[in-house]
């Protein structure tokens, strides 16, 4: 215990048999198992733990809970470093290393404390009033300077090495908080057989019972809590979640929580997640989250050594630490007197107890008899010292007394922790009886209980918890035993916030963001009189502690400044998360490669064997190209694949395109209403290209649809629109025309499909399928047939995206790997080449086929040169709106081809088209380039573009202007079908 000068010889819930070593700012200390970093620092008499955000004032530990605004440290180092960790809730472990933040060069001597000299300028809103001129300086000079000077901890900038897990849970009753009210309620509900989840941010259940001296049902508080926790663990219908923070309430009775699985260990065990995100759906919730003690606003209330009275109580009783040797207690509530008695019991010198009220509780008499000075209707005006040294008391007659103390305990009343109760928009209101904001209209399904409901005495809290459980149970048809555990009804009266004004010295309201009472007065005088405006203008309540110890005091100061009552001033709504949540735990396992699911086609393994390079197409992995020795770079590879396909035969996996079976007596009729062209007249065994519009007249998608029987159609879509078109078809048949006899189902994943393209494609397929007559007479262009392959149903379509003689062959996906290998075996005699999406793209651009870049949601059928496809004889989705005057305007950008005037010039997609010789400004913009490719057939770059009045401008020269990549290329407008415009190869 050497060095632990403030550790009490006996008592506490710490384990004195397990001493632990830790360092703070590089200095070594010891503590015990059961300590927090804060309690261990206090035991070792470390007064200074940080510097405040704006003024860099020295700060000590204020609280014993997660509401702590001052003791923010960086825990661990390297990639595991976590800045802004609150020392008050870090469980001590052996080897813990923490460093202070926001100071340079050291905590003891912080150069930026000079900020304090300029404090008259750094008042509320100063960012808005200064640094305004010159305007250009803001981004380059002022903001970087401010950022460097302000701020708390620093990120490690290294990737997060930890694992995070996720769990989904459902329950009848979610109990938030395992203090007396929560434990009593969870135990009663668990005994009654309800599915219960009880969560508490602390390592042990018990809440205030661990910090204060009470008896419940005749047992010591901690013992009662432990017994309840043990009983809860025996119920299979109860899930206990210690170290778990419920951070937000969401629609539909859903709650988000973070379980800190291994944060309390020196390091996670292998495979163990650091934290776990819980998504909990609860039929009913008890908000038994307790209450947070209010600081009192007076001069020097931020000095190291000024602490919450409830924290003093907790450090003495739970951690066996006396936070000071000679204390003063300043209170506006009965609970402050308990802290005074705890100090006396711990052997501390109590210099005085100052109660702002006139009628103190019975404890006053006990302390008076013990010889302690009592001041009633008095206040503390100022605390002096870099570390608390003395306090000035103003007594009831206005006389000042100065006492030498090293600890000032302030007890300003209690704020129920109802934050998450207002996440869904229920605004709390002021209760004069509780002297606090209460959640009197909680969201449906949530009931505040215990101190969170304003029941501050232990007996009332227990009763409140049981009553809430009984009510929740009855709403679910379950009877819960209504007997509450027995405890004393200790005095628990409070008063409203009582700022001490009109004295010199900085009186802090928000410790973390350095907002003083004067700042609030200033904001009010400038017209920021609503609590929501006050918050944003002064940054009160906007720090990582979200105003837990400052918001209500701020409202009180504002109310006084604007002549309103605190009830009239109101309070803000809280937004999740209640406590800081690591982004990593929200991401869970969805990081890096696992960010999204990966969809693979049946040929994926085969393609990997072939050395394919893959590209993402939505969630799919598609082979982009297949590099071979001799290819200098990818463009060589792509050119080789195009030439091999156009000159011989190539095979490409096109399984990712959407596929939908549309069956039924009215299938053709439905397709007529979905496509601009007619399908009910399509012959069996034939395919047809179709275009689908949205109801607003713009193109939704395109594809080929094949008829296999009177009542069986097979629809294809683009890869990225597969789901959207399925949804569209389902909407049409279920909502628009439910009277039609038609069903539809997605079969995208059920079929593997390979394009076999090139002059030798027929020969290859004839070798693979000797039984199918592939002659041009029997199997013409746009024909289709069903047959069997290897005992499985298979299909062959004579379709061409490449413009060559081509087919698409399909087999069930479970045969997909076998099929691709069989195709390449059959093709070895014909020098078959695999080709990927790049070569696929080059060939379709050479043929002027519109694809995703052209079907961009802003183009119409007319824009794409397909106006004549639109039937005049039937209604279809989009028909009416496609004929709006503006969409018929020939000046609309329409599809054209472009080729560079200089044969070796490179084209770039995205370049804008402007007339030659004009200034490149938006007024002269006539369109843009949608797709580009180097054409191996033509030996130069080609492109597709949307150009105003395009089709009438073939032969014209125009400039492709690309300011982003810095090029201007003169191009000629031409027919978008660059290769085989008559289409003779297709039909051979």
């Amino acid at each position: 215990m050497r060095g632990q000068t403030h550790r009490l010889a006996t008592g506490g819930l710490i384990d004195r048999a397990r001493p632990l070593s830790f360092t703070f700012d590089g200095k070594a200390y010891t503590g015990f198992a059961g300590d927090t970093l804060a309690s261990a620092l206090l035991a070792n008499n470390v007064p200074l733990v940080g510097r405040s955000f704006k003024y860099h004032r020295p700060r000590g530990i204020l609280t014993a809970g997660s509401e702590e605004p001052n003791a923010l440290v960086t825990l661990r180092s390297g990639a595991h470093a976590e800045p802004n960790s609150r020392a008050t809730v870090i469980p001590l472990f052996d080897g813990l290393a923490a460093t202070s933040q926001n100071r340079w060069p050291s905590l003891a001597f912080d150069v930026l404390a000079l900020n304090q000299l300029a404090s008259p300028i750094f008042v509320a809103g100063f960012y808005y009033k200064t640094f305004m001129w010159p305007a250009a300086f803001w981004e380059k000079v002022y903001e970087p300077l401010i950022r460097r000077a302000a701020g708390l901890g620093a990120l490690s900038m290294l990737p997060d090495p930890d694992h995070y897990d996720r769990s989904h849970a459902f329950c009848d009753l979610l109990v938030i908080g395992a203090g007396p009210a929560g434990l009593a309620a969870a135990r009663a509900a668990g005994r009654a057989g309800l599915r219960v989840i009880i969560a508490d941010e602390d390592e042990r259940f018990g809440g205030r019972l661990l910090a204060e001296r009470h008896k419940v049902d005749g047992m010591d508080g901690p013992a009662w809590a432990d017994a309840a926790a043990v009983e809860l663990a025996t119920f299979p219908n109860v899930t206990s979640l210690p170290r778990t923070i419920v951070f937000g309430a969401y629609d539909g009775g859903e709650y988000g929580a973070v379980e800190r699985v291994s944060d309390h260990l020196a390091s996670s065990l292998p495979g163990q997640p650091r934290q776990r995100l819980w998504k909990i759906v609860a039929r009913h919730t008890l908000l038994a989250s307790g209450a947070i003690e209010r600081p009192i606003v007076f001069g020097g209330n931020d000095r190291p050594g000024v602490m919450m009275a409830s924290a003093v109580t907790a450090y003495i009783n739970r951690f066996a630490v006396a936070p000071g040797k000679r204390a003063l207690v300043f209170t506006t509530s009965d609970s402050g007197w308990s802290a005074a008695e705890d100090l006396v019991a711990a052997g501390c010198d109590v210099a005085a107890v100052v109660d702002a009220r006139g009628s103190p509780p019975p404890a006053a008499e006990r302390l008076r008899r013990a010889g302690i000075r009592i001041f009633e209707q008095a206040a503390v005006a100022n605390v002096a010292g870099r570390r608390t040294r003395a306090a000035t008391i103003i007594d009831s007659s206005g006389r000042a007394h100065t006492v030498a103390v090293d600890l000032v305990a302030m007890a300003g009343g209690w704020n129920p922790s109802i934050g998450i109760g207002s996440n869904l928009g229920c605004r709390p209101s002021w209760s004069d009886s509780a002297n606090a904001f209460l959640l009197d209209t909680p969201p449906r399904g949530m009931t505040p209980a215990g101190a969170a409901a304003g029941a501050l005495s232990l007996a009332d809290a227990l009763a409140s918890g049981i009553a809430a459980a009984v009510k929740a149970g009855s709403e679910m048809g379950v009877t819960i035993a209504a007997e509450a555990p027995a405890a004393e009804a200790e005095p628990a009266s409070t008063s409203p916030p009582h700022p001490v004004r009109g004295r010199p010295g900085k009186a802090f309201v928000d410790f973390q963001n350095d907002v003083t009472a004067k700042d609030i007065d200033l904001a009010a005088s400038e017209g920021f009189t609503s609590v929501e405006h006050l918050k944003r203008y002064t940054t009160l309540g906007m720090a990582t502690d979200q105003g837990k110890t400052s918001q209500v005091n701020g409202h009180a100061v504002l109310a006084a400044a604007t002549g309103k009552t605190i009830a009239e001033a109101g309070t803000i709504l809280s937004r999740p998360p209640y406590l800081p949540v690591a982004i990593g735990v929200l991401a869970g396992h969805h990081r890096g490669r696992h960010f999204r699911p990966e969809r693979r086609t049946a040929s994926h393994e085969w393609a990997e064997e072939q050395g394919a390079t893959f590209v993402d197409a939505g969630q799919w992995k598609r082979a982009q190209w297949f590099a071979r020795p001799g290819d200098r770079d990818w463009s060589d590879t792509v050119a080789r694949e195009v030439n091999a396909t156009r000159g011989g035969v190539g095979i490409c996996d096109v399984s990712t395109l959407g596929k939908i079976d549309v069956h039924g007596r009215d299938a053709g009729l439905l397709l007529d209403r979905l496509y601009v062209n007619t399908f009910s007249t399509l012959a069996i065994g034939k395919a047809r290209y179709g275009l689908m519009l949205r109801e607003d007249g713009f193109v939704l998608d395109d594809g080929t649809t094949t008829r296999f029987a009177e009542d069986r159609f097979f629809v294809t879509t683009t890869t990225v629109n597969a789901a959207r078109v399925m949804q569209h078809i389902d909407f049409a048949r279920q909502v628009l025309w439910p009277e039609l006899d038609v069903q539809a189902t997605s079969v995208t994943e059920q079929w593997s499909t390979y394009a076999v393209a090139g002059p030798r494609s027929r020969m290859l397929l004839q070798k693979l399928l000797p039984a199918v007559d592939l002659s041009n007479e029997n199997f013409p262009y746009m024909g289709a047939a069903e047959f069997e392959w290897m005992g499985a149903p298979a299909r062959l379509f004579r379709l061409s995206f490449s413009g060559e003689l081509a087919y698409e062959i399909s087999a069930p996906a479970s045969f997909g790997d076998r099929l691709v290998r069989a195709l390449f075996e059959a093709g070895s005699a014909f020098d078959v080449t695999p080709y990927g999406t790049e070569a696929l793209g080059v060939m379709r651009i050479e043929k002027g086929h519109a694809a995703g870049n052209e079907l961009n949601g802003q183009t119409t059928a007319r824009d794409l040169g397909m106006a004549r496809m639109m039937s005049q004889k039937k209604d279809f989705i989009g028909r009416v709106m496609a004929n709006r005057p503006a969409l018929l305007d020939p000046a609309r950008p329409s599809l054209v081809g472009i080729r560079p005037k200089a044969p070796d010039a490179r084209l770039r997609a995205g370049a804008h088209l402007l007339p030659e010789g004009v200034r490149p400004v938006a007024d002269h913009d006539q369109g843009f380039v949608t797709s580009v490719a180097f054409s191996p057939v033509l030996g130069h770059w080609i492109g597709l573009a949307l150009l105003a009045g395009g089709p009438g401008r073939y032969g014209e020269t125009i400039v492709a202007h690309d300011p982003v990549r810095g090029s201007d290329v003169a191009v000629e407008i031409c027919n978008p079908v660059f290769v085989d415009p008559e289409g003779t190869r297709l039909r051979g």
């Binding site: 869904l424 109801e695 279920q734």
Partner: protein, 83 residues
């Protein structure tokens, strides 16, 4: 948030795709198409909305939802509702 799909039961909202107001009906007259495509009431209160159970039974539903409180009062098959 959860939607009570008539076939699948109470399911997480991530399984569904939202479309919009279920009120407007596809017109029989060309003149009314502009309103059908573009004009919608912005109701502060209960609305009937089209949702698609994309990750489930793939039925279109009419969901009654309060736009202020986000409470979902019920869901029915859209097919039934339009008959």
């Amino acid at each position: 948030m959860r939607i009570p799909c008539p076939y699948c039961g109470s399911r997480d909202i991530q399984e569904f795709v939202y479309r919009g107001d279920a009120g407007p009906t596809r017109p029989t007259h060309d003149d009314s198409f502009f309103a059908y495509v573009y004009l919608r009431d912005n109701v502060a209160g209960t609305m009937r909305e089209h949702w698609y159970h994309a990750q489930g039974c793939r039925n279109w539903l009419v969901v009654t939802r309060d736009t202020l409180t986000h409470e979902i009062e019920g869901a029915a098959l859209a097919r039934r509702s339009s008959q």
